[in-house]
């Protein structure tokens, strides 16, 4: 049924359709509306689930691990600091092979503390062994949760559905919420591979030493490889059942004849597509490659687009997180995909890749900035690594302060003061 609905609410309704049996809630901006909505459904008796208000995110993931191990379909949500706080348990869930589904309402990680949207939180867990799917719209966010339970349970591997905090979670837009019957048809009851059952006791979570650890981890990688096939299969099944495209590994947009391609994850793709259409009207052959499945990284699909028809090619990778000392996170995976050693791509034809770090801590990514950046890229004037919409004045002022004085003070506070001074005009 079509609804004009807040993103968080759409996700809550989609999750409820999946009939989770245990939901763990610990609040953190900007996911709280999701667990609040689910809590209300449980309290009103509209959703038959155990709803556990826990004392920390670490407890949330731990409780979900326990519940899943007993054979229950389980769910939780977090963001930013909360994701870090549960990190030990996040790795644990993947290592144990438990098909937990979690929403990460993407938010920056402090310090400095920041409640707004970027991808630093989910990126920090990219090696934990979870499948990571990034939603472009609230429709896709809702749909991906339904797909996530099926993917997770099929593989016995946890899945993280990432949706941009505030930008998606707090945006009201049109979403088609499926009916219960169709959801049930798509998602049968959970059948665990391993379960704690007094009638058939097993020990789960034993210590594994050097003699077998490598093999256990190999199987984790194997699950990721299986996911590369399963994710598109589930997306196709979803389309057959619900009648719309959603999910999958990648989403190319006007890349067929592109000479410039921007790679991005998440909601920014909407603004990117509008910008591309405008540039196309000006004759620029630009396209976008949206990556939906970041883990497993869809090497073949990325190669097919970036090293396929796009020759010679400029690629801009739009990063919503920063790896200090290393640069671009998605860029590294894109480069690796292009350098894949099957020898099919001659070296001289490798695309020129520029990394653009954008929208950190919720800085809006405007069509205007994207357009200017893409034109720079087209003209070969984009440096290999840059920050979109950087305010150099703020940076220079702080560097000058640090140069002048050992006790230069906390950087963030200094800059905020600068911003305040500038805005109020007191400096003049």
């Amino acid at each position: 049924m079509l609804k004009q609905i807040e993103g968080s609410r759409a996700v809550a309704e989609a999750v409820a359709l999946c009939r989770p049996q245990v939901i763990c809630a610990y609040p953190i901006t900007p996911q709280t509306h999701i667990v609040e909505a689910l809590g209300a459904l449980v309290k009103k008796g509209e959703l038959n689930a155990g709803f556990l208000n826990v004392e920390s995110e670490f407890a949330a993931m731990s409780a979900v691990i326990g519940a899943s191990a007993v054979g229950a379909r389980t769910y939780t949500a977090t963001a930013s600091q909360g994701l870090l706080y549960m990190s030990e348990a996040v790795y644990n869930a993947a290592g144990l092979g438990l098909p937990v589904v979690m929403t990460v309402a993407n938010r920056a990680i402090g310090a400095p503390i920041n409640i707004w949207n970027d991808h630093s939180d989910s990126m920090s867990q990219r090696d934990a062994g979870w499948i990571q799917l990034y939603a472009e719209t609230n429709q896709e966010a809702a749909d991906l949760h339904i797909q996530a339970f099926r993917i997770a349970e099929e593989l016995s591997n946890p899945v993280m559905v990432c949706m941009d905090g505030f930008v998606l979670t707090h945006a009201s837009e049109r979403v088609d919420i499926p009916g219960q019957a169709e959801a049930d048809a798509f998602l049968p009851p959970y059948q665990p591979r391993q379960v704690l059952d007094p009638d058939d006791p097993v020990s789960i979570g034993a210590m594994v030493g050097p003699e077998a650890f490598t093999e256990v981890r190999f199987l984790a990688e194997e699950r990721m490889r299986q996911a590369l096939d399963l994710i598109p299969d589930v997306a196709s099944a979803f389309e057959r059942q619900f009648g719309r495209e959603s999910g999958g590994l990648v989403k190319p947009y006007r890349t067929g004849d592109a000479e410039l391609i921007i790679v991005a994850l998440g909601s920014v793709l909407g603004t990117v597509k509008d910008t591309i259409d405008e540039l196309r009207e000006d004759g620029i052959r630009v396209g976008a490659l949206g990556i939906t499945s970041f883990r497993p990284f869809p090497v073949q699909s990325v190669r097919a687009v970036l090293a396929g028809g796009c020759r010679p090619c400029r690629v801009v990778v739009l990063e919503r997180a920063l790896a200090p000392g290393s640069g671009g996170i998605v860029t590294a995976d894109v480069r690796a995909a292009l350098a894949a050693t099957d020898g099919s791509l001659p070296r001289t034809e490798h695309p020129i890749i520029s990394t653009v770090v954008a929208g950190l801590g919720g800085r809006p990514i405007t069509g205007k900035c994207l357009r200017a950046m893409l034109l720079d890229a087209k003209r070969g004037q984009l440096p290999p690594f840059s920050f979109l919409d950087l305010q150099p004045g703020l940076v220079q002022a702080e560097l000058a302060r640090m140069q002048a004085n050992r006790r230069s003070g906390p950087t963030a506070e200094n800059m905020l003061r600068d911003l305040g001074v500038t805005a109020s005009g007191a400096a003049d």
Binding site: Q4, H170, A171, S172, E173, R174, G270, T271, P364, T366
Partner: protein, 200 residues
């Protein structure tokens, strides 16, 4: 696409206003996107929200920088820096106030804009009288509907009815109808014509 930017203070229902407008547009078969400015929203702090309405899916997600309409829920904000940033010369400005544009110190703005695009509506008073609380959101939306025709009054009333219940719904509805009538009277518009404007 029709883009609206709402300005107000935390606690005045700025976010709700954008969502109600989106709901109204949705009920008329439009695509609509509403979201808050995500600033640090404390009670009394200046906040913004945005609403985009279109006949096709809306993909962009940046804040509204070139509003077709500005709705200012709190007149004490009119001299805030950048409040009118991006407003096109034919853009609408709707201010919740009892003073005129000139009295609010906006004579310059009034001079550069079409007069049938600018309006002051005493929305808080209308709300106070009918709802018992000076919440201007619903009446301002109805006024926006009358001023711009982007949504119909019926759509606004349906959105109010969907969101609120009981006395609150009734009070908001009454305030909205009063504001709609106020705008019609201010511009001597035909009621039927405004009600049936097909919007963006």
């Amino acid at each position: 696409m029709f883009q609206v930017r709402f300005h107000g203070r935390g606690g005045q229902g700025v976010v709700t206003a954008a969502e109600l407008l989106a709901a109204a547009a949705f009920s008329q078969g439009r695509y609509a996107q509403a979201f808050p400015s995500f600033g640090s929203e404390r009670m009394g702090a200046p906040v913004m929200s945005f609403c985009r309405i279109d006949r096709k899916p809306i993909r962009t997600r940046e804040p509204v920088t070139e509003p077709d309409a500005l709705v200012i829920q709190d007149p004490t904000l009119v001299h805030q820096a950048d409040l009118f940033a991006g407003l096109t010369p034919s853009g609408y400005v709707l201010i919740n106030a009892t003073a005129s544009f000139a009295q609010l110190g906006l004579a310059d703005l009034a001079a550069t804009h079409d007069s049938d695009r600018l309006l002051v509506v005493p929305a808080s008073s209308l709300a106070m009288a009918r709802l018992g609380r000076p919440l201007p959101g619903a009446p301002l939306l109805a006024a926006l509907a009358a001023l711009t025709g982007v949504v119909s009054l019926d759509a606004v009333l349906a959105a109010i009815d969907d969101r609120f219940t009981g006395q609150v719904a009734a009070g908001n509805t009454a305030a909205a109808v009063a504001a709609f009538d106020y705008v019609l009277a201010a511009f001597d518009y035909d009621r039927v014509e405004r009600k049936e404007l097909s919007g963006a």
